[in-house]
């Protein structure tokens, strides 16, 4: 049984087709990279998977169950966690409260949720800011809080949307470390959207490339990086592909 399947997924905003007949399959346990230039439809695909947007056509299956018309909260409970590219902390709550709110997806007691939150907060290196208001965190902290909130719901599939964007080099290494740990220690399958090629080429098992909402190619990081259309799509818009990959 396939873990996550997108079948001819299409999303149109009025006349603009943001996602155009994208089909892909994610296997359990892999880190699956999704790349494409700005505005190519990556975030929209995430928004379709967790039903933030309703699909225009096509189907989504998670562990054999069609989730195409389920509600966002139901999908989270089925085990798909996500982070937001434009981070969405619960600003006036503390970091701990943010993560606890998410932990209640599986826990019913206050103590249970606090325990889960505490583990997740340690896992994401947020221990020092546990009692800070989420709104007061700098960007690196907010990005890690996005991951922590998603992890606290105990997902089996995690959608990471540019969690490394805007970080400095040492923060970046920390983020990569956490993402790797998510799979190796927690066994969570990951779909990752990232512009920073150093990150995506480094940690993905397979990569799916899109441009203007349509699939260009799919394969191992090496294969995808060598694909002429990928190189072309990135030339002029983002030079980090080659530079980052060589680095």
């Amino acid at each position: 049984m396939s873990f996550l399947v997108l079948e001819n997924l299409t999303k149109a905003f009025g006349g603009l087709v943001a996602v155009n007949k994208v089909s892909l399959e994610v296997k359990e346990g892999e880190i699956f990279g999704l790349i494409g230039p700005n505005g190519s439809g990556k975030t929209t695909i995430f928004n379709l998977i967790n039903q933030y947007y309703s699909v225009t056509s096509g189907k989504i299956y998670f562990r054999g169950i069609e989730i195409t018309s389920k509600k966002t909260f139901e999908i989270a409970r089925l085990g798909i966690g996500r982070t937001f590219q434009k981070v969405r902390p619960l600003k006036r709550l503390t970091v701990e409260e943010n993560v606890m709110a998410a932990a209640f997806a599986r826990e019913t007691s206050f103590e249970g949720a606090r325990k889960v939150a505490s583990e997740v907060i340690d896992f994401c290196n947020l221990t020092e800011v546990k009692y800070f208001r989420a709104g007061s965190l700098p960007i690196a902290g907010r990005k890690r809080l996005e991951i922590a909130k998603a992890l606290a719901t105990r997902p089996s599939l995690l959608l990471l949307d540019e969690t490394a964007a805007g970080l400095n080099p040492s923060e970046l290494d920390e983020a990569i470390e956490i993402i790797k740990k998510i799979r190796s220690q927690l066994g969570i399958t990951i779909i990752i959207v990232e512009h920073i090629m150093k990150v995506i080429m480094n940690i993905s098992d397979r990569i799916h490339a899109i441009a203007f909402g349509s699939t260009i190619t799919e394969g191992s990081p090496k294969e995808v990086a060598a694909h002429p259309t990928v190189i072309e799509a990135y030339l002029g818009t983002d030079e980090t592909l080659q530079g980052g990959f060589n680095a």
């Binding site: 967790n50 933030y52 509600k71 966002t72 909260f73 989270a76 409970r77 966690g81 996500r82 937001f84 969405r88 902390p89 619960l90 600003k91 006036r92 709550l93 409260e97 606890m100 709110a101 998410a102 209640f104 997806a105 826990e107 019913t108 206050f110 949720a113 909130k149 998603a150 606290a152 719901t153």
Partner: protein
């Protein structure tokens, strides 16, 4: 004194002292029905303010129409009496439940709205009820209202009834806010869409918050019927005298704090009384006519200088006060 740990919440030392004071202080005024009356109204506003605070302060659904639930609770107590002679005291049970049913039905419409539209939607529903209850005389006796000869002349029994309801309200909010539901309310307030992504059935939890909030508002309304012995639509569904004062009680004490509405209730009842009585007859009579204006200024002051309310900004107020004393001392 020690904190008392109960299953769903803790009663702290300070709370125990407050509870004791709310028993002792009214007893000190045994020969003043006037003061006892004020204490009763303070407690009634604690119920309304806390009820509003759960929905607006903690869940972010800012209701401008809490009079709808207060009024329907009052009529749930009064109508069976008027039509069938059934004691209004049953209202203490049925008032809250009727309000919950009304809240659920209205929620189907108003929960589709967000922010200012939600506020306007709730305001409109209370106004519509006020008009309907004024016009459908066959059902409600219209503006002639419902009259009931109250059970006791003595005010103490009423005080301790509304005191118990007020404590139940405050501690039900406190218990909820320590639970999964409380975290979900806060998440919805902060970001409804982000809440959905962490598995929160926002629709369900908005309804839960609404149900608890409307239950207490309706119970307060039923109490009002029993205590005052008279209701009419202009009083119990009033926009300014109920819905707006409820909001003031909530924001002056501090939105989203457990004890804020209690502090707000004390301040509001005292300020209202000072103006109504023209500072106990010491000030010129026209003063009593400007209380609406004073409330307006109070709101502006709170929003500009203490957005967290008296309880929410307590640290800030103490700090300012210390600075002020320091300045005086160094002069």
């Amino acid at each position: 004194m020690k904190d008392i740990n109960l299953k769903f919440f803790t009663i702290t030392k300070y709370e125990q002292i407050i509870i004791l004071l709310t028993i002792i202080i009214p007893l000190l005024f045994y020969d003043s029905p006037y003061m006892q009356g004020l204490f009763i109204f303070i407690m009634m506003w604690v119920v309304l303010g806390s009820s509003w605070n759960l929905l607006a302060g903690y869940t972010g659904q800012v209701s401008f129409g809490h009079a709808a639930y207060f009024g329907i609770g009052a009529y749930a107590a009064g109508l069976p009496f008027m039509h069938w002679g059934i004691s209004p005291w049953w209202g203490l049970l049925t008032g809250g439940i009727t309000a919950v049913v009304l809240g659920y039905l209205l929620g189907i419409v108003v929960f589709k709205l967000r922010g200012p539209y939600f506020a306007l939607g709730t305001l409109a529903t209370a106004e519509i009820l006020r008009i309907i209850f004024g016009q459908e005389e066959w059902l409600t006796n219209g503006h002639n209202g419902i009259l009931y000869v109250t059970t006791w002349v003595d005010k103490y029994p009423y005080y301790f009834i509304i005191w118990a309801i007020a404590l139940a309200t405050v501690f039900s909010v406190k218990a909820l806010m320590k639970s999964k539901a409380g975290f979900y309310f806060l998440s919805i307030r902060e970001d409804e869409d982000a809440a959905k992504a962490i598995g929160i059935n926002t629709h369900k939890y908005k309804n839960i918050s609404m149900a608890v909030s409307t239950f207490w508002a309706g119970t307060a309304g039923a109490f009002y019927m029993i205590y005052m012995g008279f209701i009419d639509p202009e009083v119990v569904f009033a926009l300014h005298n109920i819905s707006i004062i409820t909001i003031l009680v909530g924001i002056i004490g501090g939105v989203g704090t457990i004890w804020g509405p209690a502090v707000g209730a004390i301040i509001m009842v005292l300020v209202q009384e000072l103006f109504r009585s023209a500072f106990f007859g010491l000030a010129p009579q026209w003063i009593s006519k400007v209380h609406a204006l004073v409330f307006g200024l109070l709101v502006i002051f709170v929003i500009l200088y203490m957005a967290g309310g008296v309880v929410g900004d307590w640290d800030l107020i103490v700090k300012k006060f210390r600075k002020f004393r320091l300045k005086k001392a160094t002069k």
